[in-house]
Amino acid sequence: MLYAGYNNKTEGIIIMRLKRLIKGALLVGALVLAPFAASQADYRIGVSVPAADHGWTAGLLWWAQKAADDLAKKYPDTEFFVVAANSGTKQVADVEDLMVKQIDALVILPHNPATLQQVISEAYDSGIYTVVVDRELETPAQNVFIAGDNAGMGREAARFMAEKMDGSGNVIVIEGMPIPINAQRVNAFNEVMAKHPDIKILDSQPSDWSPQKALRVMENLLRKHRDVDAVWAGDDDVLKAVMQAIEEAGRDDIKLVVGGGGSKDVIGMIKDEHEVVQATVTYPPSMVASAIALANTGVRGENLGDMYHHVPARIVLDAELITEENAENYYVEDAAY
């Protein structure tokens, strides 16, 4: 009996507290959120990207938000929603949420294309102007596809390295993740290198674009190979881990390290005439910013620039080689990548 009484009393108190809490929360909620409720824009553009799990995706989100802010200022009749998902499944939910918000255009960099295929098709079929970025769907369901030049990224890096090495020497390759775009890059790299019979690729190992893993892999490879002339790192964050491994091992046989992606830090190193890090090739996360701009043009049915056509269906950004001669032009002071 005693127990029951105690229980009822605490229940009473908690219910009372909860009531007070509800009242408070409702009031605060209504006050804080009221301004959000009433926004009527002519165009709504939803942007869905993977959450920042490495430097490149962090840069992606930064550029997406920057483009949304810039364009929202320039086009007051347009509203932008930027969401980020830490998994493909969460991204499906994100797109569903955006569709409920009655977006007119969707800009999406799919976490993994097959997982997102279904929901992107639903969006596209319901008449939403769809721009797919970087990772292509198996069954096309988009108005525009925009990506970097993956093969070009490998090719430019290989050309530069072969030239610097005078066509001979030992090379280590630190790849990305075993997915198709990585294969495109590495195959193009190997194709160029195959034309230089005196260049030997000692090892080609995946880093999954993770600096931690790259550090471990590079440490092991440096113990395995005692005579290395050059390293190609498939990503600029990975390049930094590679440099750390080289410095810690005190290896001075390595004369050349080339990256990929075009991160602020690595462009900074090249700009400041780093002895070893001499080049990187762009694969810019800012592509999402351009994708948002394309969606903004496309959804209005306008032509692109002075073109006599609407936005093209496929846009491939150039893979540009960054060396000390042009590094200045690519350096963005406050970028996240």
Binding site: A37, Q102, Q117
Partner: protein, 328 residues
């Protein structure tokens, strides 16, 4: 005041007799508050499409959370459920693609998915009971093993189903509600009956609150614990069916990541004590709904993606604090 308290007591008596009690009143109130705030905050929230979306998004982790509720009531824990989603999904899509006839493929695939889920759960249970490994460690190990197997069998690539009927399961509707939501509700009802109205349910609570005493009272403790893991595994199998069919594919590296944490969070928010011994299925259902509504609301309001985890974590802390206060 006295009268009010009397009325309150009568109310809670009536609630208790109807299968509801205070432990699920708290999450219920929290959910209602969330719903009210969300509908004030976003004009789209009450949109029918949005509500069915939330229900569907919730059902994947919700079904798993129901299974995990059984494990937690027995004072165990299952960390492997997320990896298991991926492994079952790989098995499922592989089997389905072996059959040319879509109906045959779906029937056999679905049955095998539930069976393999139950089997992986049985492995967990066997490690815990016969192997005498604490559930945390045993399922930590199988979490790693199941994910690794899923990656190995699929070569770390996404597996896409070629069956024309398969996507209709997770993407389809029945009487206006998505099929995964129906599945979630039906499993919840069955689980509630199992927990609240059968000898198994009573034995389970006895085992969870004091295994030694339960053993002396003639309850087959090991078998009960083993069964909880099998139930959790079967639920994972069903959830994996819903998820893989909604996406028409399974990504071994991505599917089910952090589902174990979402499931445990839903169970805890729903008022089931991690120390075991008591718990409620409806609490877990509410917990899962609360997490889903929070996710949706944060998206609808355009809260920074980096801050969304903070809100989720905060809600879990508040839920646990309330539980702690209540049990003192």
């Amino acid at each position: 005041m006295n009268q009010a308290r009397l009325a309150g007591a009568r109310l809670s008596d009536r609630l208790r007799s109807s299968g509801l009690d205070f432990s699920i009143l708290a999450p219920l109130i929290a959910l209602v508050v969330l719903l009210v705030i969300s509908s004030l905050a976003s004009e789209y929230f009450l949109d029918l499409r949005n509500l069915t979306n939330i229900a569907r998004q919730v059902s994947y982790t919700g079904i798993i959370a129901i299974g995990v509720t059984f494990v937690i009531i027995a004072a165990g824990i299952d960390l492997s459920v997320g990896s298991m989603v991926a492994l079952v999904g790989v098995v499922l899509v592989y089997i389905i693609n072996q059959f040319a006839d879509p109906v045959q493929g779906v029937i056999i695939g679905l049955a095998m998915a539930v069976l393999s889920g139950a089997l992986f759960g049985l492995v967990n249970g066997a490690l815990v009971t016969w192997g005498r490994i604490t559930p945390f460690i045993a399922t930590l190990a199988t979490m790693s093993i199941y994910r690794s197997l899923a990656l190995y069998f699929s070569d770390a690539g996404e597996m896409v189903s070629t069956n024309s009927l398969f996507p209709e399961i997770g993407g389809g509707y029945l009487l206006g509600l998505p099929i995964p939501v129906w599945t979630f509700l039906i499993i919840a009802v069955l689980a509630h009956i199992l927990l609240a109205h059968t000898a198994f349910g009573r034995h389970l609570c006895a085992v969870g609150s004091n295994a030694q005493v339960a053993r002396y009272s003639g309850i087959r403790v090991q078998r009960i614990i083993l069964t909880t893991f099998v139930i959790a595994g079967a639920c994972v199998g069903i959830s994996s069916i819903m998820l893989a069919s909604r996406l028409n594919s399974i990504s071994p590296s991505d599917a089910g990541v952090f589902y174990e944490l979402d499931a445990i969070a839903a169970v805890v928010i729903g008022g089931t004590a991690l120390s075991g011994g008591r718990g409620s299925i409806w609490g877990t259902v509410l917990g899962a709904l609360i997490l889903g509504v929070i996710n949706n609301m944060l998206n609808m309001l355009g809260v920074s993606p980096y801050l969304q985890g903070l809100v989720k974590g905060g809600v879990i802390l508040v839920a646990v604090l309330m539980q702690y206060k209540q049990s003192r």
